[in-house]
């Protein structure tokens, strides 16, 4: 089933001359992992804000086209239904904290959708276990570390068990260890939960191996949309759009350009090592003609 579809979607913020996004047509299958990449100010956050319904509900501007969530127009769905269907993790976790303790923060959304108290208790226990925030429940969310803040932000959205979860640059404010932790959570979510995950991320190295499809946003349009195996094929084009493919992909792409390799382009290190090893085998080395 199609989880998200946009038809000729366009949005111009009030007071701006140009459309932030224009003629965006995409379809995202249910229970898939989609990464959105691209330079800053090229429409990534605007696109996911349209999908979440923040645009046009919380912003002024000019709307064009249509966004459908599981076949329903987002402009015809209430905030509570949308909150139930789509979770949104903001780039700055602190920006989404509205409560005085982590526990309140985690149950806030659940209270808003009117879940029974025993269900709230069960979900609180479940979500604190998978995001490892159970020891933070009594603490104010703005007094914990950056990585913990982001985990709480993700937990507060996951607790609502949305069918779609959108994460807007969830690792942009974290140190390498914090980034790894968030990617571990994303990996587990992909493996263990029936979730449609949409992530805006600059860290292509880590997000590409998780992705079922990658969308490149450039100048408010979708410049490229493809599975990782084919997304990085035209690396020159990607470099022009400000995207650096994963190192493993770049390495094999260079070999391919020099006619030393003609296989697929892996996006993670393990697959690249296997490909390199196969080249070193007696019959695996493909000598270039140049």
């Amino acid at each position: 089933m199609i989880a998200v579809s946009t038809q000729d979607l366009g949005w111009k913020y009030a007071g701006r001359n140009n459309f932030a996004i224009e003629h965006v047509n995409l379809e995202i299958e249910e229970n898939t992992f989609t990464s959105i990449v691209g330079p800053n100010e090229h429409g990534k956050t605007t696109l996911v804000s349209c999908i979440k319904g923040l645009i046009p509900n919380s912003f002024n501007g000019v709307w064009r086209g249509k966004v459908e969530i599981f076949g329903k127009d987002t402009r015809e769905i209430s905030a509570q239904t949308l909150a139930n269907e789509i979770g949104f993790v903001f780039a700055d976790p602190e920006a989404q904290f509205t409560s005085m303790t982590v526990e309140e923060e985690l149950v806030f959304g659940l209270e808003n959708i009117g879940l029974p108290l025993n269900e709230i208790k069960d979900r609180l226990e479940w979500v604190t276990n998978i995001t490892l925030v159970s020891d933070l429940l009594d603490k104010p969310p703005y007094e914990i570390s950056g990585g913990q803040k982001q985990r709480v932000a993700i937990a507060s959205v996951l607790a609502m068990k949305p069918r779609i979860i959108i994460l807007d640059e969830p690792t942009s404010m974290l140190d390498p260890l914090g980034k790894d932790f968030i990617f571990d959570i994303l990996t587990n979510l992909k493996k263990e939960q029936d979730l449609t995950i949409i992530v805006i991320e600059h860290n292509i190295e880590q997000v590409a191996p998780l992705s079922d499809q990658i969308i490149l946003m450039y100048k408010g349009n979708i410049a490229k949309m493809a599975p990782p195996a084919t997304f990085f094929e035209d690396s020159e084009f990607l470099y022009e759009q400000g995207i650096n493919p994963p190192m493993a992909t770049t390495f094999l792409d260079q070999l391919k350009r020099n006619k030393l390799y003609d296989g697929g382009l892996p996006v993670n290190l393990d697959d690249a090592i296997r490909a390199a090893e196969s080249l070193l085998k007696p019959n695996g080395y493909r000598k270039g003609t140049s």
């Binding site: 920006a95 959708i113 009117g114």
Partner: protein
């Protein structure tokens, strides 16, 4: 808070001093770092200077007052002692407030308000206001740190320059506050918040946090006791002047020396 509120009716400094000692003992028992109270020292001294300066400069003397001179300045015992008693009343109220905020989390206050069936939207905006105050101070701290990092030395500035500097902080602080308002509004929308506190279909939103604070018999007994003492103190003072300055042993002793 209760101890501070009761002081409202008490103009006998001895009782207020005892209340302050009780509050300090309570803070020690509650394992609050008493040394942290030092930050209130400038406030207590400033208040004392202002109160005594005003009562000395504008005493409004009456013929029955007892004047005395110190360093050539005329004081009146009644006015001086009233200022002294008022100061300790104010200090008792201040320490009561400090005790409340040192031993209670914001969440406790919110739960208390919600228990009184105050509409959700009111308690929620109170919560956001508390959070915003914290963020406001944090932003101000960040701005000041950034200025110091670029060589600003506040200690070398005159009072008027410092006042101007604080005025200038308002611009970035309000800009940040507006941006944060926008962000919090988006966050509230993203998690299905409605100001009415109603869920889709018209039902009432759940209140999980409230269930974590069941009211026990001892709570009700203490609340009744505190309200009872408050009303009794108010009644005794308003009706009979039981806690007026004239009942202060120190005041009576000083009067006897002047007579």
């Amino acid at each position: 808070m209760f101890l501070g509120a009761v002081s409202l009716f008490i103009l006998v400094p001895e009782i207020n001093v005892v209340l302050i000692i009780l509050i300090l003992l309570f803070l020690i028992w509650a394992k609050v770092d008493i040394s942290g109270l030092r930050i209130y020292l400038p406030l207590t001294v400033t208040v004392a200077i202002f109160m005594f300066a005003i009562s000395t400069a504008f005493p409004g003397p009456k013929p029955e007052y007892h004047p005395f001179k110190v360093l050539g300045i005329t004081f009146y015992l009644e006015v001086f002692y009233f200022t002294f008693a008022s100061y300790w009343r104010l200090m008792a109220m201040l320490f009561g407030t400090i005790q409340y905020f040192s031993t209670n989390r914001e969440r406790d206050t919110l739960v208390a308000i919600r228990t009184l069936k105050v509409p959700f939207v009111v308690t929620y905006f109170f919560s956001l206001a508390l959070r915003s105050a914290g963020m406001f101070l944090e932003d101000m701290h960040t701005i000041r740190e950034a200025e110091r990092a670029r060589g600003l030395d506040e200690s070398a500035m005159s009072l008027s320059d410092r006042a101007k500097l604080y005025g200038m902080y308002m611009i970035p602080l309000f800009t940040l506050a507006i941006r944060r308002t926008d962000e919090i509004s988006n966050a509230l929308y993203a998690r299905g918040y409605t100001p009415s506190g109603k869920i889709e279909g018209g039902g009432k939103r759940s209140d999980y946090i409230l269930t974590q604070y069941p009211i026990r018999v001892v709570d009700i007994v203490l609340i009744v006791l505190m309200i009872g003492i408050f009303i009794l103190a108010g009644f005794l003072q308003i009706r009979y002047g039981y806690f007026s300055m004239e009942h202060s042993p120190l005041y009576q002793f000083l009067l006897s020396r002047f007579s």
